[in-house]
Symmetry: C2
């Protein structure tokens, strides 16, 4: 079997055809979802089955049973059954009769001005009882009465159908028994995943990039999970180094069994901005397969992949990609083909749990995302969710369903992603232009990021006049403090070191191009350059 | 110091006066909240300080450090600081320009008809940039740009201010350094609390009612936390029995240290419907104080306290309390005085973490509630939230702020609670009328609940013709199956047994009056009665 990339492709038209055949989705309060019924690719059953991961699970996860009250929902299938079972409030008691939102349709682009205008915007409304209106006058398949009541931990059937379709469109999973669950965001998904796979009593350790997302490290530490950092290059973690660590693992010396979980951010990695190529992903997957390592693929920036940075010619004006962005011109296929394939696309063993997020592409405050993994892993994930967060909140589910399913559809959402991608490309270019202009290249070096929202600046410690007197950490602090004095906040590289007790591999600072205006980003980099120059006495 | 009940009372007028003095709340994206600045009772500083709970914390909780990226927010206070620090998206990228909701004002009551009508309903709107409109044209203090971005794990200042005021109004905390944090609902709060206070490696056990909320038991079990059930009467758990268990604790025989955490649902307990009186709460608190036990007070049904059930006279029609409910006639004081004081009101040591929920009184789908405890405990709670759920979602925060703060205010919300209370009272009465009419009292017995949404039916096993052949569990199953056959779903008592390996204290079934219509509830109880009669051969 080839493992060089996705082995099939479905289209939005395929999804629409399947839905037409299915007919209207009927899913009442806390309905149970048949995930497979929403899969579009007809050949899914012929794909290989996922491996079992029982030996990888923690004691906590392995011991989870189903929720007895939620299980009783099975009796409610009988039409004349009256439930005095679960304490679900009646929607009559919900104080909200309808919810409306002002959004851009995409017809004239996705800017705030478009959303506000008559031509480019519309107001959409979610009623309390939309899903149970008479068949001759259908409104939405989802509503406030269902969406704001208790639901299943995995998510509502309505939102899950959209997520399954989108995942199949983007990830084209490579094995048959893949499944999904909504999450309360990827921070929560990672907390649950670490508790599922790592066992404090077993002294389990976690593999990750040598510079890793600080919040991920802070999630692992209190659980007693020590971290092994894997060296990186401009494409992220090095498979050879990963293989070396695992092949030479000395359990006695380490006081820990050989690690069986890798946490990685493959695209626009936080903090380094590195993006793994397809070849890199294949190599990493192959090492994980060799050592039976499970992969936690965290991809908040996946859709923020962008073309390579082109320095502008001297004196030329920078063209903002957003100013030339035409939603009508962007085809779904063209957009999807521009992205490096996901680990799920390559994963023929069910070795991956992918974490998807709406935080960076819609709103962080939705606190809703989803995970994709084998049905075995998803089942354990749901058991955990049932007694923890109970799953994604109802407001996010009904409102994002209205936006993504009823208003934009899959194609509209891809066009929105194109808009966001163009906007981040423009922001990245502004930041990098400023770096070209204001930073002393003999001291500061970088690789232009091709995804995400972060730029990683290496500062050569060896060239510092006090290199022999001051530790790397002390120098980093000195430059950081100078930055603060000059009025620019950047993140210190040491905050992201996977192994806090090891010497740092170098001096780095992380800058984001996510939020500040073009003018302010430029000024901020000027200030940063000044701070470095002063510190180095240039 | 007296411990007989709340020692002060603040009023809505006091809150309004404090707010007027404070002026407009300015709290931008991810602003840090000064909790104490929102306290209205001027004498709070003179109350005793909470005890320290370091010895009660788990290794996991004790080892949590602050989130390094969130801590960097402190540098942003300088007005000319440009942040290239945190990866917070710009609100320009949020696809929602405004959100509107149709709600009842309360002027003509809170029914769905009132909300839909011109006289009783209104449509309120949350804009994207409301909080930064010019001072001469102020809109809301909160908006989409702030609310739907990343925030602090504790919650937004806007929503926290409302929660602190409401908590002070209802709970009148009895010590000075009390604090609050928003939660992702009480299920999540309990999961976090158990991980904070119970340590698997220490073999910590948990005290609770002998019949307890099944999901709470399912939360504890996979964490390796064994449960000790405390016997109950019609007022819930028995303090004498609690004292006996703790006084006679044999750590060696139990394989566990003396328990230091009690989980209790004081009002409308799930599943028994029992409500602890003030005297009972004082007695339980005193035993916990004697043995240094920390109390987790779970109060989803606190505002669903209701007058005692009065059987209707033969042939008389039942008057629905909702039909006579007049919001104008309900004063805040009268409503609050009708409630048994909370544990927080009695807690002069900071021994309690109270969990409040909007699920039963607004919508379950908000997945937002709050906890009240000492600032030490809240600080640990927030550290946990930062690397787990990241706190309550933004949609719930902006929409419930609009409802509770901007539209209803504290007084309006109390009137809404009065409406909900009246509605549940009416539902309880219908269910109990049906029990009076259809159940064989020689076999089935009950105490009419005075809070919550559950009714607990005891069925006398000793009178069953097969009492000597069949186990209690087998009999319970037989009756349950008959119920299912007849088309009524009730919950089995055994599902709620705190100690699953111990003999059951009796045969019980839990019925809810939360959701089914009056007609269906009556029919359901008729079916249940029929099932019992048939099983008993009556």
């Amino acid at each position: 079997m080839s493992t060089s990339g996705p082995r099939y492709r479905i289209t939005v038209a395929d999804i629409e055809a399947r839905r037409k055949k299915e007919g209207r989705l009927v899913a009442a309060t806390a309905a149970v979802t048949d995930i497979d019924s929403f899969k579009t690719y007809a050949g899914w059953k012929d794909l290989p089955k996922a491996k079992r991961w029982d030996s990888h699970l923690s004691k906590e996860s392995a011991s989870r049973g189903p929720c007895v009250l939620k299980s009783a929902a099975k009796y409610l299938k009988r039409p004349d059954m009256i439930s005095l079972g679960g304490g679900l409030p009646t929607p009559e008691h919900f104080p909200i009769q309808s919810i409306s939102m002002r959004i851009a349709t995409g017809e004239t682009g996705f800017t705030e001005a478009a959303a506000a205008s008559d031509e480019g915007g519309k107001t959409v409304t979610i009623g309390k009882y939309d899903s149970t209106q008479p068949a001759e006058n259908p409104v939405s398949e989802y509503d406030i009465a269902v969406g704001l009541n208790y639901g299943q931990a995995i998510g509502s059937s309505q939102m899950l159908r959209w997520v399954i379709e989108h995942t199949e469109l983007v990830c084209t999973p490579a094995y048959s028994d893949w499944s999904v669950s909504l999450t309360v965001g990827s921070t929560s998904a990672l907390d649950q995943a670490l508790r599922m796979f790592c066992d404090r009593e077993r002294n389990d350790m976690l593999l990750t990039e040598e510079y890793s997302f600080s919040s991920a490290l802070e999630t692992a530490a209190p659980l007693g999970i020590r971290v092994v950092g894997v060296s990186m290059d401009e494409q992220g973690l090095l498979p050879e180094r990963l293989d070396e660590i695992l092949s030479g693992w000395d359990a006695a010396a380490r006081g820990a069994p050989k690690p069986h979980v890798l946490y990685t951010v493959p695209s626009g990695q936080n903090p380094t901005g590195a993006t793994q190529s397809l070849e890199r992903r294949l190599a990493v997957y192959s090492v994980c397969s060799k050592h039976n390592v499970f992969i936690l693929e965290d991809e908040p920036y996946y859709f923020l992949q962008m073309p390579a940075y082109e320095p502008k010619a001297a004196g030329a004006a920078r063209v903002d990609p957003l100013s030339t962005y035409e939603p009508a011109a962007l085809s779904t296929d063209k957009f999807l083909d521009s992205l490096v394939p996901t680990y799920v696309s390559l994963d023929y063993e069910g070795r991956v749990m992918r974490m998807d997020s709406f935080s960076k592409v819609l709103v962080p405050g939705s606190r809703m995302g989803w995970v994709t993994a084998s049905s075995q892993i998803i089942e354990r994930y749901i058991r955990h969710t049932e007694t923890c967060t109970q799953g994604a909140n109802g407001f996010s589910q009904v409102m994002l369903f209205e936006l993504l399913n009823n208003s934009w559809g899959h194609e509209g959402y891809i066009k929105w992603l194109g808009h966001i991608q163009a906007s981040y490309t423009g922001r990245r270019d502004v930041l990098l232009d400023a770096c070209e202009e204001f930073l002393p290249k003999e001291i500061v070096s970088w690789t232009p990021p091709t995804a995400g929202m972060f730029h990683w600046l290496g500062v050569d410690q060896t060239k510092h006049p006090k290199a022999k007197e001051l530790s790397l950490l002390a120098l980093e602090e000195e430059i950081f403090e100078r930055c603060i004095e000059k009025g620019v906040l950047v993140a210190r590289g040491s905050w992201f070191a996977a192994e806090q007790d090891k010497p740092l591999p170098g001096m780095f600072f992380r800058a984001t191009f996510a939020a500040a205006s073009a003018e302010k980003m430029t000024e901020a980099i000027r200030r940063f350059g000044e701070a470095v120059r002063e510190s180095y006495g240039l």
